[in-house]
Symmetry: C2
Subunit: 270 residues, 2 copies
Amino acid sequence: MKRDEAGDTRPATAETSGTGTLGKVLSVLETVVTAEAPLRFSDILALSGQPRGTLHRQLSHLVEEGLLIQRRDLCYEPGFRLLKFAYRAWSKNQFRAIAGPHLQRLHEETGETVHLGVLRDTEIIYVDKVESRQTVRMESQIGNASPVYCTGLGKAALSVLPPERLETTIGRLAFHRFTANTHLSAISLKRDLDDVRLRGYAFDREEHETDIRCVAAPIHDAGFDFVAGISVTGPAYRVTMEQLEAWAGVVRRAAIAIIEDVQIRLGPGH
Amino acid sequence: MKRDEAGDTRPATAETSGTGTLGKVLSVLETVVTAEAPLRFSDILALSGQPRGTLHRQLSHLVEEGLLIQRRDLCYEPGFRLLKFAYRAWSKNQFRAIAGPHLQRLHEETGETVHLGVLRDTEIIYVDKVESRQTVRMESQIGNASPVYCTGLGKAALSVLPPERLETTIGRLAFHRFTANTHLSAISLKRDLDDVRLRGYAFDREEHETDIRCVAAPIHDAGFDFVAGISVTGPAYRVTMEQLEAWAGVVRRAAIAIIEDVQIRLGPGH
DNA sequence: AGAGCTTGTTCCAAATAATGGAACAACATG
DNA sequence: CATGTTGTTCCATTATTTGGAACAAGCTCT
């Protein structure tokens, strides 16, 4: 089996790759879906590092299943079946439904945008949002994924991970400078996380986007299998660090309220 | 290989199932995702008809890949990674972006809700929506899938399919009565489609939901590989059949405008 | 509590599908 | 028209999936 040379720091100890064929195909799908522009066969070939024949079959299968579309100019695009899957995933999600009223309340208390995000691998996936101007639609970031190391939600989530899982997660991070304040090393990030753990809430000091600050608190189930977060975000000119400090309490209380609500409504262990 | 007894009217001529392992796994994923309530292992076992060992591994892989989540009570739920895929699929979609202004204009002309939907297998997947009250969020149906045979968009899309593909599509339909007006047979549906083809637009005469009517027109690329539709929908008390007739022209013109716009912006063949 | 039932998990030889190199075809490009 | 690039097909080899059966963990009912 071929191994990616770049960024693969995993121990070489008999990693069966876990999910077999599915994992490989999803990796191809993710490549196409997360690409900035539609990709041609050769582009994907270069990015995936798979042999031509193999990749060709994988793409054919993905197209046949509706997860990708092949346009007439041979470019591959995400397929509409992905929307169907997500619609169900979102509209029936109980966690989101339970958290909803708490987001709303937090928005009313602060007047700024409130986010609900879930930790998945090394990213935070935005699951819900309440914001002032009701121009919100699906662009609203729902489904958008941001790195854990430069977002309030991400750091809040990391702060409650069991040590071992935290290590493996941080080990997989590929640090990338988004702003002057972005953490660029595991050491720097871990120092920040120590503070977060003590306080119970995390800040984003313009680490992902300039002029955007946020304060976030972690949400988790009993076994820390499920880790998420809630945050209040605003523009730096309006939201000072003092303001964020002042909101930290309500954010944290909202997070705790959600944890309790989930336990009551979905039974112990959640 | 086992075959579903119910609703499987496909010819038994050497169907290699096409997408191999991926198809089987996605079929399991779809079962879980489209279920009304979270399913336990045995529920899925019964629905999928796969052997225990096989299904167990498939589910493990899906969970490991983040497409499913297994809760503490052993129920399976759609995973949040699905949201990430869809976010990209939606936000980068060029067809949607091109059609957007036309939907907006159609909404301004009619004052009622406008939908954009894409044909995928035997379903219409809603891709965009413009409606009066700006309470729209992701609940807005984006990603929702409805059967082709009882929606205006579905019938509009079917009406432009090449005869052969129309036959296979209709052959796969499992008719289900949603209202008193729902088509329940291929014959009845085909008769309707003949009318649609003559007029160039389709009606939904409360065939999917009581008190909901709609008029829709087809959109397609040069080779009919990509088939979609645009529609105006409203409550029966406000939107009479005469009103729909009156709007048919603008709807059809909007559809044609989108077809032209796509050809210009994405090049010939689209 | 214990017997009997259901439900979830693990194991492994056999069957099957994925792999990947190489040859082929279709397009561009100079 | 020659040449490089890009997309597609083929097939023996290899690895993964398959699925039966045995095992373990929960329930339920007397």
